[in-house]
């Protein structure tokens, strides 16, 4: 990351926002990956 943002850790309220943003993106992505793995295993089992 750029030097500006890496000089000080994020404040507690920002940490909550960052965690929320990760969940916001991570949950749908985890669903997509789960479905992908489920389908991909058919190559070996189907």
């Amino acid at each position: 990351m750029s030097s500006d943002s890496s000089q000080s850790p994020p404040s507690p309220d920002r940490r909550g926002l960052i965690a929320f943003a990760w969940v916001w993106v991570g949950v749908p992505l985890a669903y997509g990956l789960y479905e992908l793995v489920r389908k991909a295993t058919q190559l070996f089992t189907g």
């Binding site: 500006d4 926002l17 997509g32 990956l33 479905e35 992908l36 058919q42 190559l43 070996f44 089992t45």
Partner: protein, 411 residues
Amino acid sequence: MFKPPLESALGLSGTQSALPFQLAIVMLGLSAAFGGTLVERNGPRWAMTVALICFSSGFLLSALGAATEQYWLIVLGYGFVGGIGLGIGYISPVSTLIKWFPDRPGMATGIAIMGFGGGALIASPWSAQMLESFGADNSGIALAFLVHGLSYAVFMLLGVVLVRVPNSAPEARGTARQAPAGPQVSANQAIRTPQFWCLWIVLCMNVTAGIGILEKAAPMITDFFADSSTPVSVTAAAGFVALLSAANMAGRIGWSSTSDLIGRKNIYRVYLGVGAVMYALIALFGDSSKPLFVLCALVILSFYGGGFATIPAYLKDLFGTYQVGAIHGRLLTAWSTAGVLGPLIVNWIADRQEEAGRHGASLYGLSFVIMIGLLVVGFVANELVRPVDPRHHIPAPKEADRVQRQQSESA
């Protein structure tokens, strides 16, 4: 996902039902090419707002079209309006992330472009489930379009609210105003350089080679092993296609990040050179070994994804961050060209070979030889890339003014 239900619900032919999706890809390329300069000028928040409005309203228009059985509204909504949202949304995070990670541009662009692949990964099963729940008639499709439009608006809104370019404004640092290091070239000037057109050829050839596998992945693996003792079933072929998607996505972040370590020119040597070797291995030995066929196809697809993700970082190395989003947008016309060229080559040759009475792996032999030739052309174009002549660079104060203006707008 929506193509077969649209055909049965609205009584469309295969060609008609493909129209909104083809138009969306064309509009993606055009809006990225022509809107790139606006994205650079107005900043990522403005760009993401435009992307949100276009993408969501495209779905809402399509919902109206499906509900009233007016197909032209679906073409206009999903294809035209939604396609503009796709193009602006595709390029807007790229230059922003490059600015956040100036020392790791490959990783930055890998994250941005992987998002596009990740979106397809989520949307595909989600849309299928929705159609299953709502029904595949016109009111079910309309409801699915409506839910898509509203959900995307909510999800993209968080991106709009949070996005910002790094705060390196001179007032914040208390330092003198500085332009970014390295050469800086405007988008209008970039397209006048041989470097831009070399990279255009590199991207076009690399994408065409990937499409060479992607376009007919399921029938290809079935045909290759049709006469073997272990033929590939329809469900196994679907698993193979899913595995290719995973390789495509992993290649975007993995290879693009690797380019930060070994250099952009070297990574494209790998994509194009090793890609050609992989095609040769499939052509020569693919039908004798299933693991070899699958492995080579996965490597080719990871290079396909890697090629998409690394190109903005390559552009940044050559032309700087000044208008890298706009230059990237213009380069995406190579994608549109490859999107036509790749399927055309593979389908046309497979059809001719079938007419000639061939079957199995021999349906694809000639296509693979052509793909190897195209990859060699791309390899040579990559070798011809040199640093941009200083006469194309912009004066430093102009760039510093632009950076300062954008930061104050997005802060």
